[in-house]
């Protein structure tokens, strides 16, 4: 009799736990409905094709399909890691990425805070103009850079000469490449990136601002102590996500800015893979490098997330 009761109570506890869980789910059912379309979409369109990840471990041949292609394990990864240029690629990729992040992340924030202090039609005009570079294609952007920095016809060199400095052939100088790449990126994205911060700033309670002004706070003090804390969560999240893209430096702009003279600093992972893929359709190799990139990104993301959780209350996970 005793034994029976114990078994009964074990299954009863399990039962109770399950019932409690289901009850929770039922309680929040509305939220699950909210999540349903997203869940379905991701399950079908993202997890559905996920079996394609195998391509990185096979010698893909379209004729045999993914399933029928030969399994080669880590061959492509080894080919990548043991490549002559591997460490140069890593270094160039990361230098560009970190430099980009360090510069192009804070500027939109400062710009947004400044724009927030302006009102009226001038603000609208300024904002529209600031967004416009986002829409310029990479090809034209590089064309503009080439023209502006050209030793013979470029504006920059004309000004340099005017100031008594020598004309420089910037586009072929390895020292100049990183700066050209990063700052043109800043130019192109800073306006567009202010949008999210401006939107966040709309959540600042204007009554609070009024009260602070009456209490004698200057503009700067208001910005630092009221505006900035409101957008801090957004900043932290966006920063974590930016860190989570750190290994992914796109190839197009670099490929266009690259030439024989600056290749030692301009060759990154994506350009290397692109050129290798031009010779034959190397799906498997490209896929392997992609996985490598993404693993690095995820590691960086989780690290940034852990750090931010330790330091503050906002974090991604």
């Amino acid at each position: 009799m005793q034994v029976k009761t114990t078994t009964n109570s074990v299954s009863v506890t399990a039962n109770v736990k399950l019932r409690r869980f289901l009850k929770q789910i039922w309680k929040y059912k509305a939220y699950y409905v909210f999540l349903l379309p997203a869940f379905l979409y991701v399950a079908i369109f993202n997890y559905g094709p996920l079996y394609g990840l195998q391509i990185a471990f096979k010698d893909f041949n379209g004729a045999f399909g993914i399933a029928g292609s030969k399994w080669v394990g880590l061959k492509h990864f080894e080919s990548f890691f043991n490549g002559y240029y591997f460490w140069i690629l890593i270094k160039n990729t990361f230098v560009l990425s970190v430099y980009s992040l360090a510069v192009s992340f804070p500027i939109p924030i400062i710009l947004a805070l400044m724009l927030n202090e302006i009102k009226g039609r001038y603000k609208k005009t300024v904002q529209t103009v600031l967004y416009a570079p986002h829409f310029i294609s990479t090809v034209v952007l590089v064309g503009i850079i080439m023209t502006m920095f050209s030793p013979s016809i470029g504006v920059v060199n004309t000004v340099r000469e005017f100031l008594g400095l020598e004309r420089l052939y910037f586009i072929t100088m390895p020292k100049a490449f990183r700066h050209l790449y990063v700052w043109s990126g800043v130019w192109q994205t800073m306006g567009w990136n202010t949008v999210i911060y401006i939107a966040a700033l709309s959540g600042v309670d204007s009554e609070l601002i009024e009260a602070a002004t009456i209490d004698g706070a200057s503009r700067m003090q208001r910005i630092i102590h009221i505006n900035f804390p409101v957008i801090k969560p957004v900043i932290v999240i966006l920063f974590i996500m930016a860190v989570g893209k750190i290994a992914s430096v796109g190839y197009e702009k670099i490929y266009l800015l690259q030439n024989d003279l600056n290749v030692e600093v301009s060759e990154v992972i994506s350009t290397y893979v692109y050129k290798r893929g031009l010779l034959n359709a190397q799906y498997s190799f490209t896929s392997a490098v992609d996985i490598f990139n993404n693993v690095v990104n995820v590691v960086m993301l989780l690290t940034a997330n852990a750090v931010s959780r330790k330091v503050g209350e906002t974090s991604l996970f």
């Binding site: 379209g62 004729a63 050209s150 013979s152 072929t172 030439n259 003279l261 010779l279 034959n280 359709a281």
Partner: protein, 394 residues
């Protein structure tokens, strides 16, 4: 009795004459051809033969072909003139499945294939789908249907070598350009500038240097603007300093492989170019000048020596006529051989047939038209034999 025979013979003659008349009037039909074509309609040659071979399909069949639209339609959307003429002749309707270059690889992997491909597959795809995958039809099995191609293989054996794969199969058709006079990295120059300064055409590298100096002193702008043409051939000056024409890997007598960038020839070439650059004779930004800039400078007269001065027009010249000449290859103390590097006349044109197509025979017969010695359908045939000029995509 004899009257009956006479009537039958007369009727037969009328039929034959009518048939000839019909086919020849087809080929005489004037067309709003694509602007590049100046065809010489070879009306009567082989019309009788044509009548027996064509149409290929007794009943109209439809074959599908995958192609990048510009390869089939050229510049005019929806006007696949050439193929329409072939369709008239062969009674095979061609349905083009247009895809973009980027979709290519995905389409191929998806397995839903058309009957054949027009210029879609590249070498490695032919290898993986054909040689390894066995999904392409082997032209060797169908040569009996392609007499023109067979004749072409016999007359020009290189064409057969070019399209045969390592395992002896042929999955693509050759492209032959017999009248080709295309040459890489030909230096063009503005003759009016040389005339104006009373300069002789340079034949050696030293003379070339002197000519450049005179022009630079007179005009103040660097007269030479590029070392490589758009295809990255830099052999024009490189070839003047030794026997080799390729600056990269090269093979000596088909056996030894050398890397010419570490050769003595390359060193001499670099010293020469260095001298030109430091004296301002070679444009200071030649590394990053793009085609548009070069064209514009050439039109202005600032650039005198370049590759492909095709955009200068008559109004850019004082005399009102285009005065551009081609510079013959230079010689130097290191070599007295004038070398030209030409585009290969033999190439692969990439018509690959799906092994599972139901109309392989008919497609082969249709594609055979491209190798005919006379113009079977207007605008087709071997370039250099059926017609001498004009650029028709085969």
């Amino acid at each position: 009795m004899s009257r009956k025979i006479y009537a039958i013979v007369l009727a037969l003659c009328m039929i034959i004459v009518l048939a000839c008349g019909c086919t020849s009037s087809e080929s005489k039909t004037s067309s709003e051809a694509t602007s590049q074509v100046k065809p010489e309609a070879s009306a009567s040659a082989g019309t009788a033969e044509k009548a027996s071979k064509y149409p290929i399909a007794k009943e109209k069949i439809t074959v599908t072909a995958m192609a990048v639209p510009t390869d089939v339609y050229g510049n005019d959307d929806n006007k696949k003139i050439l193929w329409d003429k072939i369709e008239e002749l062969t009674n095979i309707h061609l349905e083009v499945i247009p895809i973009e270059k980027e979709q290519r690889s995905v389409y191929l992997a998806s397995g839903e294939w058309p009957d054949f491909f027009i210029e879609i597959l590249n070498n490695s795809e032919v290898n993986s789908y054909g040689v390894e995958g066995g999904m392409l039809a082997n032209y060797n099995d169908y040569l009996e249907y392609m007499p023109n191609l067979k004749a072409c293989f016999e007359k020009y054996p290189t064409t057969k070598k070019i399209v045969t794969n390592t395992d002896g199969t042929i999955y693509q058709l050759p492209r032959l350009n017999i009248a080709s006079t295309s040459v890489s990295a030909r230096a063009h120059y503005r003759a009016d500038v040389l005339n104006e300064l009373g300069l002789k055409i340079p034949t050696t590298t030293d003379e070339f240097h002197d000519v450049l100096s005179v022009i630079y002193k007179a005009k103040g702008k660097a007269p030479l603007v590029a070392l490589m043409d758009t295809n990255q051939y830099e052999y024009f000056l490189f070839g003047a300093f030794g026997e080799a024409t390729s600056a990269d890997f090269d093979s000596i007598d088909g056996k030894t492989v050398v890397y010419n960038r570490i050769s003595e020839q390359y060193k001499h070439y670099l010293e020469y170019v260095s001298k030109l650059y430091s004296e301002g004779l070679l444009h200071q930004e030649y590394v990053t000048l793009d085609g548009a800039a070069i064209n514009a400078m050439a039109a202005e007269g600032a650039a005198v020596f370049a590759y492909n001065l095709q955009t200068v027009t008559a109004k850019d010249f004082a005399s009102g006529k285009v005065e551009v000449s081609t510079l013959a290859p230079l010689t130097s103390q290191y070599t007295s051989k004038q070398k030209l590097v030409g585009y290969p006349c033999y190439n692969k044109s990439g018509y690959a047939i799906n092994k599972n197509s139901k109309h392989i025979k008919e497609i082969c017969q249709m594609l055979d038209i491209a190798f005919a010695k006379e113009e079977v359908a207007e605008g087709t045939g071997l370039n250099g034999e059926a017609f001498i000029y004009g650029v028709i995509r085969q």
